[in-house]
Symmetry: C2
Subunit: 417 residues, 2 copies
C-alpha cells in the first residue's frame, strides 16, 4: 500500500486504444492496493496541431494566449482517461492544473512551479478515486493558465509526487529506461536498473532525452524516486534515485554525447586580465550559450583559448570574434563545426583514481585524437573529430565494461513499494 | 461609443482564415470607437471530434468529465482569436469561462448561469483591450468546469451583455437573420429587420434554429437587444428586442413549423375527473414531453382526447396508452406520425381580430384539412397531414402578406449604438 504517481507521455496516449490500454495499466496498480495519481500529456500530434494554428497567425504568438492554447491538450487527455477508467469500473476524477492546485510563477511557456496545494486531489484519493491530472500546466497567482515548457508533464508528475509524499513517481514513456549509451550506436548498450540524480542530470543534458532536466533537479531536491519505464511493455525500467554507497562501485554508468557543438579556437591572446571576460561577456550579451572553455598559457606570454558553442550559434560567434580580434590583439581565430563531444559519467569517479586516464588511453588506442578535455566531479568530456564519433562511443562502452553491467539491485529496489 | 458583445459560432471560426476574418470584423468595431467583448464557439468540427473520442470509450460518459472535455474547444478558439487580433495591432486578451467570472449551477452539460462577476473583463476593457471569451462554458461553485448545452455560446454572449450592461449583443452566424419562414420552402421569404423576444421564442421553439431558446429568454429578462446577422457578409441582420407599440401593426411576423411531431388520438374516454391526469402523469414519468393537448366532449358522456409527442417518443407513448386502455376504459386509440405542425406567430394578434379565422380560411381554400388547433396569445398552431406541409406554408406566407413585409424600422434601430 502506497501512493504512486504515474505519468504517461504523448505517444502513450496517442489514440483512444492507447488511452484504454493506459486505463488498464492504471487500474492494475489501483487493484494492487495503491492510491494512484496519473499525470497525462496531450495526445501525440495535438500540441503540434495547436502550435501550427498559432503559427499560421504569427511567428511569435503572445505567451499568455499561447499557454492557454497549449493547455487544452492535457485537459482533453485527462478527461478521456478519467472516462476510460470509469468505463472499466474504477472511480476516477480529472484535474486541470488549477484544480490540482499547481501554482506557478509568471514565466509563460517555461513557468516554474511555486507550490502545490493539492487539497482536491487528496480529497479524491481519500474517497478511493484515481486522480487524473492534466500535465504540463498550472496557474499563476493572477489566475492565468501557465505551461511548464515542452516535456513539462514530467515536472508536473515529480512535483505532485513531492507535494503529496508519493512513494514512487513512474514516468511511462516510449523507451524502456535509461541506457548506458544510445543503443542505435552500440547494440550492446544495456538498460541501467539504477542511476543517481546527478548522473541522470549529466546524461540528460548531453542528449539522453528521457526525462526533462528540470524534473530530475526537482526529484533530487525533494528526494523523489523516479522510475522511467515503457508504457508499451511490462519491463522494469530504470530507477533514478539518490546516490547510495554501493553506486560508487560502478565507476562509469554511461557514455553521453552531444553532436550539436562547434569549436572556436583563438591562438595567441595577450595574457592580461580582462581579455577572457571581454570575450565571454560579448558572447553572453548576444545570447550565445558557451559550453566548454579551455585556456592554456602558450608561447611568449600569449595564451591559447578554445571554447564550444552550439552549431546554430557558430556563425554569430565567429562574427563576434572577428570584430573583437583587432581590439584584443588576437593572432589567429579558427572555427570548427566538425566535432562531437563524448563524455563518461559516473558517481564512482569520485572514489576511483585513473578513470580519466583510462578514457584517454582507450581513445588513443583507437587512434582518436582528443582536441579538448574538460572534467567535473562525475564526468569527463572530450571533444573529438566528428568522424570518430561512433568508434569512440563503442570503444569507451567496451573499455568501461558497460555491456556487462550487472543488474544486482533488482531485489532491493522493486518497482513499487 | 458603446459596449458591444459579439458572438461568433463554429462555422464562423472554422479555420485560421475565418478566424483572421473575424479578427478584422472585430477590429472594425473597436476602431469605430466601441468597447468590444467577443464570445467564440469551438471551431466547426472540433466538438464533434471530442464527442467522437468520448463515445469510442462509452455511450454515456460522466457529465463532469464530458464538460471538461468539451470546454476545450472554445478555449482554443479564444486564444487563437486573441492572437489574431494582437497580430493586426489590437490589444486583446482571452478569458476562459472561469476568468470571465461566469458562475453556473451544478447541472453538467446543461448548466444555467447563476451570476457573472466579470471584474477581469471590466479591467481589460478599461485598459482598451478587446476581451475574447470562450463561449459555452462556466465554472460551478465547486470550481469544476460546466457547459451550457449545445448552442450555449449564444447564452454566454447574452448573459455577458446583460451583466456588463452592453448596448447591443450581436450573434454572428451563418444565416443573414430571422426569416418570415424557411427560405428553402418559400423562396419569397423575407428577412425580418425586427422581431420581439416573444415572437422569437415562438419561432425558435418551432424550428427556426437561429438562436438558442434560453439565450432569448435571458435577453428578454434583462432587456438585451440582440442582433442576429451573418459573419460572411455585411448585411444588417434581424434585431430581436422588447415589444414596442408599432410592432403590433404587423399582425403575423412569421410562419413556423415542426416536422418532428406525432399525434395520439383517444376516442371515447369516460368523462370523469382524474382520467387526463392519469394519462399525462404516466407519460411524464416515462420522460415523454407532450406538446399540444386538445380535448372535446364527445357523444354519450364520453370525451375525445388528442395530443402530440415527438416522433421518437411515439412508440413508447403508444405502448403506455395501450397499457392504460383497459384500466381507464378507453374505446379506441389511434397514432399518426404522418403529420406536421404549422403555426403563425405575431404580437399583433393580440389587438387584431380574425387572425385565426383567416388562417383556417386560407388552409381550407388550399384544400388542407386541419386535424388539431391550439392557440396562445401570439400564436395559432394547426396540425395537418404531412403531405400538405410545403403547400400550407406557402399559402399562409402569401395570405399574410409576408413576402411584401416592409423594412420600415431600419432608420430607427441602427445595428450599433
Amino acid at each position: 500500500m502506497g501512493l504512486i504517481v504515474q505519468k504517461y507521455g504523448g505517444t502513450s496516449v496517442r489514440d483512444i486504444d492507447r488511452i484504454r490500454h493506459v486505463a488498464e495499466r492504471v487500474a492494475g496498480v489501483k487493484k494492487a492496493g495503491h492510491d494512484v495519481i496519473v499525470v497525462v500529456s496531450a495526445m501525440a500530434g495535438e500540441t503540434n496541431k495547436l502550435v501550427g494554428w498559432a503559427n499560421e497567425l504569427t511567428e511569435l504568438p503572445d505567451e499568455r494566449e499561447f499557454d492557454l492554447l497549449l493547455s487544452s491538450g492535457g485537459r482533453i487527455t485527462s478527461a478521456l482517461l478519467a472516462i476510460a477508467l470509469q468505463t472499466i469500473g474504477y472511480p476516477a476524477q480529472s484535474f486541470t492544473g488549477r484544480q490540482a492546485g499547481i501554482i506557478t510563477d509568471f514565466a509563460h511557456g517555461r513557468a516554474r512551479i511555486a507550490r502545490i496545494t493539492g487539497e482536491r486531489i487528496r480529497a479524491a484519493l481519500e474517497k478511493g478515486k484515481i486522480a487524473v491530472v492534466a500535465g504540463f500546466q498550472g496557474i499563476d497567482e493572477k489566475s492565468d493558465v501557465s505551461t511548464l515548457g515542452r516535456g513539462g508533464s514530467d515536472t508536473s508528475a515529480v512535483a505532485l509526487a513531492a507535494a503529496l509524499g508519493a512513494d514512487l513517481c513512474e514516468i511511462h514513456t516510449d523507451v524502456d529506461g535509461v541506457y548506458t549509451t544510445d543503443p542505435n550506436i552500440v547494440p550492446e548498450a544495456r538498460k541501467l536498473d539504477r542511476i543517481s540524480y546527478d548522473e541522470m542530470l549529466e546524461l540528460a543534458s548531453l542528449g539522453a532525452k528521457v526525462l526533462q532536466t528540470r524534473s530530475v533537479e526537482l526529484a533530487k531536491k525533494f528526494d523523489v524516486p523516479v522510475m522511467v519505464r515503457s508504457s508499451f511493455n511490462e519491463n522494469a525500467g530504470t530507477l533514478v534515485s539518490k546516490e547510495e554507497k554501493e553506486m560508487e562501485d560502478v565507476v562509469v554508468s554511461g557514455i553521453a554525447f552531444n553532436k550539436n557543438e562547434a569549436k572556436v579556437s583563438v591562438i595567441g591572446i595577450p595574457d592580461r586580465p580582462g581579455v577572457a571576460m571581454r570575450i565571454f561577456r560579448t558572447l553572453a550579451d548576444a545570447n550565445i550559450l558557451v559550453d566548454m572553455i579551455v585556456q592554456n598559457i602558450g608561447r611568449d606570454g600569449m595564451a591559447d583559448l578554445t571554447f564550444t558553442v552550439s552549431k546554430e550559434d557558430l556563425p554569430k560567434a565567429g562574427k563576434i570574434m572577428g570584430e573583437l580580434q583587432k581590439e584584443l590583439g588576437m593572432q589567429e581565430i579558427h572555427v570548427d563545426a566538425d566535432i562531437v563531444k563524448v563524455a563518461i559519467v559516473g558517481v564512482g569517479m569520485r572514489s576511483h583514481t585513473g578513470v580519466a586516464a583510462k578514457m584517454f588511453e582507450c581513445l588513443a588506442d583507437a587512434g582518436v585524437n582528443i582536441e579538448m578535455i574538460s572534467t567535473s566531479e562525475i564526468k569527463v568530456s572530450c571533444i573529438i573529430n566528428a568522424k570518430y564519433f561512433e568508434l569512440a562511443i563503442r570503444e569507451l562502452h567496451k573499455a568501461f565494461g558497460l555491456e556487462k553491467w550487472e543488474i544486482h539491485h533488482e531485489k532491493k529496489y522493486p518497482s513499487r513499494p
